[in-house]
């Protein structure tokens, strides 16, 4: 079933470090969750080179094209970088390969243990990462086929999100402001500002900063209407940072279609439920991280 090809085409620890430094910066910039898995044979002292090659080839055959297998300089550990993957996917991968290794006779000499580190912060040094995992796997207390976890890097930093409410009706504007100030989204803090018309929003220059920016605006506004603002924002070079929710009294498919084609992320027909708006906003932010 698993015909293993013996190969030594595997990256080494010092080669991977350079890539890691780039990925580490992408963790925050692109919200790219990385999970690293380290594996060690439970009985490494008795293993010969052939068995190590067999493990290498087996792992190579099981990883995806987006994953990177490498060997640590001591020759006893293997590491796998799972890009854009959370610890859940890495754990599922380990369970799958452990089950194959335990079931097939040709792998009966192999017994592994593993550690998982999920990285959601750029405050991590490669050497420190290696040492922490090695330490985790070095003790005898960790059982064969078990999976340990290093949790030092799994907390992502809180990101500031600018929020602009553009609504003409002062009472409703205040309601929206109170509602958005009360929303609690893990790892995101909202800086809410309100505008009564499109012109004052554009004059504020607040939208020119590099922060992620949630815009909640009416389609019809004095001075500069919502569709004009939408057009301006979606033609900016960094338009992807804007999450645009458009509110409208027009409950027609044509109006919604027009707004979505213009680039809104959500089209909300008035009157709407505030709890539903909250849920939509929370869901939007949850999608940014795995």
């Amino acid at each position: 079933m698993n015909d293993i090809k013996f190969t030594h085409d595997i990256m080494q620890e010092h080669e991977v470090e350079r890539y890691f430094k780039i990925w580490r910066e992408s963790v925050i910039r692109s919200r790219l969750t990385i999970t690293v898995v380290f594996l060690k044979t439970a009985n490494s002292t008795q293993l010969n080179e052939n068995v190590k090659d067999q493990v290498t080839s087996f792992l190579q055959s099981k990883i995806r094209k987006t994953d990177l297998l490498f060997q640590l300089s001591d020759g006893d550990h293997w590491g796998i970088f799972f890009l854009q993957s959370s610890d859940l996917e890495a754990r599922a991968f380990l369970k799958r390969i452990f089950a194959i290794l335990k079931a097939e006779r040709k792998f009966q000499q192999i017994a592994l243990k593993a550690s998982i580190t999920e990285i959601r912060s750029n405050n991590v040094i490669f050497e420190e990462l290696i040492n922490k995992n090695k330490q985790m796997l070095s003790g005898d207390e960790q059982l064969t086929w078990s999976i340990a976890e290093v949790k030092d890097y799994c907390e992502q930093p809180t990101e500031l999100v600018k929020v602009s409410i553009i609504e003409q009706n002062a009472i409703f504007r205040q309601v929206l402001e109170s509602t958005l100030n009360q929303i609690n989204i893990p790892y995101f803090s909202l800086d809410v500002k309100v505008y009564e018309d499109g012109y004052s929003f554009l004059q504020s220059d607040d939208y020119k900063s590099g922060h992620m920016h949630l815009i909640l605006m009416n389609d019809i506004l004095p001075l500069k209407n919502g569709l004009e603002i939408l057009h301006i924002l979606r033609h900016m070079p960094n338009e992807k940072k804007f999450i645009i929710y458009m509110m409208s009294e027009r409950n027609s498919e044509g109006a919604a279609l027009n707004a979505y084609e213009g680039g809104v992320d959500e089209y909300i027909v008035k009157p709407f439920n505030l709890r539903l708006l909250e849920a939509k906003i929370k869901r939007t932010f949850t999608r940014f991280w795995l």
Binding site: I171, F172, Q174, V175, T179, P271
Partner: protein, 347 residues
Amino acid sequence: MIVLSIFSLFIIILLLFVVLFIFLMYLLVQRQRESYFEKVRDRYLQNYSQLWYDYLFNNALFSIVLVPRGRAQVEAIERIFSSYLKNIRNEQVELKIKQFSNQYLKAFYEKDLSSRRWSIRMNALYRIADLQIDQLLTKCQEFEKNNITDEEHFQLLKIYSLFQPDLFMEKIKNSNVNYAESEYRRLFVLLDDNVFIQFFHDFNSLPANMQFAVIDTAAVKRKMEYLEELKKLLDHDTTEINIRALKGFYEIGIIDEMDPFIPFVTSEMWEARLMVAKIFRHVPLTYTYSYLEQLLQDENWWVRSQAAKTIVEDRQGIAKLQQFIESSNDQYAIEMAQEIAARKEGK
């Protein structure tokens, strides 16, 4: 020539000055009152908007300070409520507004209904409907007995449709006023489905404007239960009703059987042929192609154009049009097919 003594002239000038002075004083007092009214209203809005928000949305306890004292505060509350009702949907909030209005605003609007000024009476009728003050229903029925305008009558019908649908049905069927289609649509769209469907039961006894509004409202409501009723109207003697029913089917977008629509392919009215070409967008091309091919060769440009558009919407549409172009002898139809196919490919 009129001769006036200096004294009489002086008296006239003096009188004019007095009148002018009285008028000026009147304006100043009115302005003062208005300004005071605005000040009280704005102060209420400033001081209590947050309290209202907390009471309505955050389940904070109701504070007696929210109860209005005077017209200015009532207007401030109207502004708060209308902002909420227009923008936010929340049953709890709507219920609280209804309870508050029935308890504390009822007296103000009851008095307004007796006003001599039409605008004040109309405003009261609007507020009764918007704020759901059902305790004024009896008062509204009494008000109807007065000599009221058509606009007031229309607003009363709206109130009945909200608070007592049976009464609404009775009143609208026996009404002497013939409203425009758009006005009937505004009334019907508010009705619950089980009330609205009753219009189909006595359809033939309704005036034409109301019949058209019933069909159009059914199309806007997009409910499956109206399909059977619309199907019955396809056999109606009036062509306008047939066409509107076809339009309703197109808007609802659900075609469960083709047979009722086939006769319209050869209808004498081009509008009916156009609508049937539109309706066939909601049916797979395999079943409709032979009819659409016929409509593509129609004498009317709109029908030909719509038939080509409907064909091209299908995945196999362009291939079908190409096949038609190669095999047909009808130059007008070929040109239409070529134009629509080219437009689609250009996308």
